[in-house]
Symmetry: C2
Subunit: 331 residues, 2 copies
């Protein structure tokens, strides 16, 4: 690979002048600039990112810390981040933590050590003080799919309470009166918010039934088991709000096995609005634009990295929308 020295020899100038040109610093005569540009073309020269980084510049790399790329929620965030990063000339470093604090910590260290320019993190387990520590070390950071109310940590998050309200209202509009809620672990902020909004609307409409709430794994099996249980207990149910689309699929499976082949008697709505490839049952869902979350996180990060803007107060909240499909709208 050609180095800056090859270029400056060929162009008959010093390294400093070449550096000025490749960094658009100005103060270089037209002739020399042209000569340098030509030499760069000739040699097919690209400045070495590693050396640049060591000399105190950017590494053009962003770390992406997520729980698990196998969870269909995260590829959308990853792809959104990667597309945006690519447009700005950055690469994405992918880190799966399984919500394991030790792995998470290990990745912070690796990313700091590799001197990435910024970190995007989606985690149920990260505490505000851990994140603030990272920011204090001068590492820009944006949280995705979570937020920290009383701390200056920039984040992109859906309005989960509002999403819960939308789900409740939609099921009520469908005529449901006995609505169950089958959800993931309540220690997850987004989950708690969804339930909060959901129950609020039910209470307002006098349809709140506390015994129709079931907590289980955020997985297909979790949705399946919870649904089976709640039905076997003999509860009268005519609607289900599932904590996410994967659980909703599990619910559907359970319903089907118990003889509910159509959604006539029991309506079902999920959360997230996963891509059609995955939600091919076309279950209704409260959709959030995860791909955009990824994009926005990168854009925010880059405002900080490149323009030194203070983004610490930016807590972006995205409005969810109801996607009405065949599990709530009957034909």
């Amino acid at each position: 690979m050609a180095t800056i020295r090859d270029v400056c020899k060929l162009a008959g100038v010093s390294v400093a002048t070449v550096s000025r040109v490749i960094n658009n610093k100005g103060g270089v005569s037209k002739e020399k600039e042209q000569a340098i540009l030509n030499s760069i073309k000739m040699l097919n020269y690209t400045p070495n990112d590693v050396a640049r980084r060591l000399a105190g510049k950017k590494s053009n790399t962003i770390g992406l810390i997520i729980p698990n790329i196998l969870n269909p929620f995260f590829p959308e965030i990853a792809r959104g981040s990667e597309d945006a990063a690519n447009e700005f000339g950055y690469n994405i470093m992918l880190c799966n933590t399984d919500n394991n604090k030790k792995k998470e910590q290990q990745y912070y260290d690796m990313l700091l050590n590799k001197q990435v320019d910024g970190i995007i993190i989606s985690s149920y387990t990260a505490t505000p003080s851990e994140l603030l520590d990272i920011m204090d070390k001068g590492m820009p950071l944006v949280v995705v799919d979570n937020e920290y109310e009383n701390h200056n940590i920039p984040s992109i998050n859906g309005k989960n309470q509002e999403g819960g309200r939308l789900a409740a209202r939609h099921l009520l509009e469908c005529g449901c009166k006995n609505i169950a809620c089958i959800t993931g672990p309540m220690h997850i902020n987004t989950v708690r918010d969804r339930i909060l909004g959901f129950e609020q609307v039910l209470k307002e409409n006098k349809h709140y039934k506390p015994n129709l709430l079931r907590v289980d794994d955020f997985s297909l099996k979790g949705g399946y088991n919870a649904t089976k249980k709640i039905l076997k207990e003999g509860n009268e149910i005519d609607g289900i709000f599932a904590g996410n689309d994967i659980m909703a699929i599990g619910c559907y499976k359970a319903l089907k096995e118990m003889g509910h082949y159509s959604f006539e008697k029991i309506r079902l709505i999920g959360y997230d609005g996963l891509e059609a490839n995955i939600n091919y049952l076309e279950l209704s869902s409260i959709a959030q634009p995860m791909y955009q979350y990824g994009r926005m996180a990168v854009e925010l990060l880059i405002r900080k990295i490149e323009k030194k803007e203070d983004i610490s107060l930016e807590k972006i909240k995205i409005e969810p929308i109801v996607v009405k499909r065949c599990s709530t709208i009957l034909y």
Copy 2:
């Protein structure tokens, strides 16, 4: 962050001695070694990867080039790679190409420029000579989910012909006589091989019907459309081999819409064996261990990176297995 100089000052030795210790080069007295180790602990020192790389060592980073992380096939490869990489102290740089040659080329350049230690690539479009060029530049490389017969390019790939044969045999065993094949584009090597094996077995059993082959997009919609077409043409069909699981889901959807709610009259088998979360219809499939592909690719790469082994002749071929589920085995 502490540097090697902070450590050597605190320990009262030279940088070289510290370097010897952190690289386990030996030839350091017990006392000094202990002093250095202590200083490292005190200062919470970690050698800077960027500086190390610039001084001619590894960057502990591996590039992963795939078509699209949104395609449920690739998260498994990504997660397998990442897990293995992590165990060896490496990070993964994620690159989505959409099988676009320009993006692919751009990523090669970025990864070379970033001086990653190796590249894993899954691509329908990359030509052998492009890949050999990269290897010639001293960049270790492993191909996943593809292989190049007459070139010394290391690869991890499923035995696709064998997979096609397994699919055909299984459908025949189920009593199918008029078996359609709905597949993705034939310019993809893996696809061609699957069809080859599939047709071979049908021919051997005198059940080959050339007019029952349909090529469409490797997507849910592709499977859906192809199935509708083939049925509307009035073909007598009692079995379908779908090119991958996503297409199989599309087939299922079409079958259902055309009145085939069970698999009694038309059996269906897909390919890949996607994770249960995604294939919750529990369609039968010819399964390949994509997660392992990712792991093995990293392990191979690291043998080359760390032990300088010649891996250019390693073309690993993985045996697929038949996963019999409710779309071929009826209860």
